[in-house]
Symmetry: C2
Subunit: 208 residues, 2 copies
Amino acid sequence: MKTLSPTIPVKLSFKAQMLQAREAAIVQAVNRLLAEKGFDAMTVDEVAAEVGIAKASLYKHFPSKEDLACAAMVRVMRRAQDFLQSLPVDAAPLDNIKAVARWTMEVQLAGEMPSLPSQNSSLRATLMKSRDYMDGLIEISDALGGWIEAAQAQGALNPGLPAIAVLYTLYARACDPVLEFLKTGGQHTDAQIVELVMTTCFEGLNSR
Amino acid sequence: MKTLSPTIPVKLSFKAQMLQAREAAIVQAVNRLLAEKGFDAMTVDEVAAEVGIAKASLYKHFPSKEDLACAAMVRVMRRAQDFLQSLPVDAAPLDNIKAVARWTMEVQLAGEMPSLPSQNSSLRATLMKSRDYMDGLIEISDALGGWIEAAQAQGALNPGLPAIAVLYTLYARACDPVLEFLKTGGQHTDAQIVELVMTTCFEGLNSR
DNA sequence: GTCTATAGACCGATAGAC
DNA sequence: GTCTATCGGTCTATAGAC
């Protein structure tokens, strides 16, 4: 078969690499724009302009604006999974949980956390249908959930809280408006803001 | 003068009352729709349909969609001010702070908390220009800020946190996605959800 | 008969889709 | 680069109050 000759696979692979590289550029641009202005305010024209390609070419890669956003979410999910795997397996569960919380806040402060409106139903439907997205979400939730229960069992996290509530609270830090408010205030560095929110999140507002 | 005859003022007042009542109906509808779908997804036609009047009539009351949203924000701000004034003046500062936090969460769970995109600049400009909005915001911030500093001084709230960070953290509870997540989960009543988030907010995730 | 307010058609621009 | 739908905003004819 011709397709098994040495040159063909190379050519296909090269072409595939081009496509993949452009797709990566698209997804990165979408990620940035989603973080900067959100889903509704982001226009497909902007994405095409930022990547430097024709709008029609976008639709060769992604069938709709929702799929663009979904790809950006999958990207950040992949980054999260990579971060999770970089954590020491023998660390205390609470340390890993805190590391993840810090990481999400740093991504947000770096302007790299895509923000989607939770009430948009067509977007929700697209995300739910995406195997990549759902698998990533479940894997991350499982990892975090395991650490949460372990930390509660050893008394490091409040065992009176439902684990799911703790998980949601951690997820919410990825889109916490307090970070943006404090950054706009200009009184604190990014590192200080992260530590501040880490404190309120884990220690609470009350005195100890 | 004829305009000072008894019947004229009565008539004018009646007309004014009608206008005011309709304006209240409009603002309430906007408030509900903003809470349900957010600013971008809400259309002016929907508002008119919900109130049961023509779109052009809306524009007799409010010059733009942004002003509609602003009026809804002023409404909820007024409700907040009323709630603040209903609190006992001799109560412990921390109790009042907690009462306000509970109140904002209850309003959100009741589907009555308008949600605006923080990055929409035309909307921000309209809000900033609104004396009613800004005055309300400042009055509320001043009241909360005073309680925060008092609670920190007496060691009830962590004095190591900047008061502004505490204030923002409280404001953020009004749009905390954890409430919606837990409600969607269906495992908890609204009251339980409020107490859960109150605990994580004031006690933190760690064990005490 | 006049005047106001309304209802509903209408316009222009924008943005998603192809 | 075009097409079409949608949406914010406006215009006009009419109904009803005085």
